[in-house]
């Protein structure tokens, strides 16, 4: 086949594909239920009742936000605060998800204005410190944890949102913040500030102060760790057997409990035929694990500690996954410090064993 002929075949094929795809899109509008199930339900629950993610069907929430807030939240996510940004969805898909969320509750839509509210940010700052910072943090960084989850005890039915998060500020109109301050959110610790005795002017001042968070650089709570390498690895001067013993000693040196030592290929070859060149040592500090799971119940993915000893190409390597990857994978800045700590501990074990 010559090049021009191939090209014309390609053009014909692409035209057919494009036409078929366009027709499919036109005749089959996005299935909001399916999109929600595939992308949202794991965190927010099949019925939007919440889980790792916040409950969406709370009537006091749905009646205080408009569809644009939901759309922008899906698009922007909340950097460093679990909720990822779903950039890949087209407008029709986002609308379908929003429509599905609305269908889960009979709560009315809020009708909100996009006009900026004016007020005194300095006065708002004083009021914020007095009335808001206990839950939302001194600088609007939000409550700790991942929100509601039924997998372990929680102190609050819902996580106080990070008001200084760029995703929140890009999604919330002033009028939505004001509406929430005026009405409160029944079913959450967020009370009506009118009932607390604040005037409308006071509330406007708080809104203007919250909006002023946009003037600052993204906060630490919206920043995730970056990693250059997915693995912590060192070369051991010892044999595999000796290195395994040294890893075990190093593990006890950092007060971890040794769980198990097993060949890398155990369970994949016949019993007794396992290679002696690859060994995995599992260990755990259950106090640390419990602390990490309370920050984010998903972190068990990289915990307990798994150290792999591998003899290959004349070398013995000792390695583990790099826990710094966790904060980005889970979009959870609260894991940053724990990930740094884990990385230090894993590195210490590996370096002690290969000294």
């Amino acid at each position: 086949m010559t090049l021009p002929r191939r090209l014309s075949t390609l053009i014909v094929l692409l035209t057919i594909c494009q036409t078929t795809w366009a027709a499919a899109v036109t005749t089959n509008p996005p299935d909001g239920h399916r999109l929600f199930s595939d992308n949202c339900a794991a965190c927010h629950g099949n019925d939007g009742q919440g889980g790792v993610g916040v409950p969406l069907v709370l009537p006091s929430f749905l009646s205080s936000v408009d569809n644009e807030y939901l759309r922008k939240t899906i698009r922007n996510g909340r950097a460093g605060r679990i909720m990822p940004a779903f950039k890949r969805f087209n407008d029709a898909e986002v609308d379908a998800i929003v429509a599905h969320i609305r269908s889960l509750s009979k709560a009315p839509h809020a009708k909100l204005s996009s006009e900026r509210i004016v007020g005194d940010p300095q006065h708002g700052k004083r009021l914020f410190a007095q009335h808001c910072s206990a839950c939302h943090g001194e600088n609007g960084e939000g409550g700790h944890g991942t929100g509601v989850t039924m997998s372990r005890p929680r102190n609050l039915p819902i996580l106080a949102p990070a008001l200084n998060n760029p995703g929140f500020l890009a999604s919330a109109e002033d009028s939505m913040i004001k509406h929430t301050l005026m009405q409160g959110r029944e079913g959450t610790p967020m009370v009506s500030f009118v009932k607390k005795g604040l005037s409308e002017k006071d509330i406007n001042d708080i809104v203007v102060y919250v909006r002023s968070f946009e003037d600052h650089a993204p906060p630490a709570s919206a920043t995730l760790l970056e990693t250059e390498t997915p693995v912590i690895v060192r070369e051991s001067p010892y044999s595999v057997e000796q290195t395994v013993e040294k890893v075990k000693t190093a593990i006890s040196g950092v007060n971890m409990r040794l769980i198990r030592v097993m060949p890398l290929d155990e369970g994949y070859v016949k019993e007794g035929a396992e290679s002696k060149k690859g060994v995995i040592v599992y260990a755990c500090d259950f106090g640390f694990l419990n602390k990490a799971l309370n920050v984010d119940p998903r972190v068990g993915l990289f915990l307990p500690c798994r150290i792999t000893i591998l003899q290959t190409k004349g070398k013995v390597l000792v390695m583990s996954v790099n826990p710094k990857r966790l904060s980005a994978i889970f979009n959870n800045s609260e894991l940053n410090r724990l990930c740094e700590e884990m990385t230090s501990i894993y590195t210490a074990i590996i370096e002690e064993a290969t000294l």
Partner: protein, 152 residues
Amino acid sequence: MKKLVSYIPVYLLAALLSTPGFADELLMVRVDHPFPEAMNLLQESIRAHGYTVSRVQRVDVGLTSSGYTTAEYRLVFFGKPAEIKSLPEKHPELAAYLPLNIVIFAEGDDTIILTANPLSLEAFFKDPSLHGQFGRWEKDIRAILNQASANK
């Protein structure tokens, strides 16, 4: 060279018709079943997709024996014998990620199943020969999770 150029349209077509190149960092599903049933569904699904479950780590047992309260929480390790044998030889640092693992934990009457998307490892392991591998794992794991979370 001329022969190579003549195949450019075919490569282009293949690229255009392939799956979109985005990678979610996390693959996560909610299973509408209590933990024991969900665990069975997950293991059945892993096996149905040609993988061997080599071990289940009972994280919850370790936690409760240390005095902490938790719902059921396990780690399921799985892989294909040929990959467990060959990949560490060719790509030693990948051994830290083998066998592959999936987290499964109870959340009320539901169960959450999740794992890191293997495709996200492409950013770190630059060897092009691995990229097909990561893509296959991603496709298989998506299928495993979909099957496990499908209502039965």
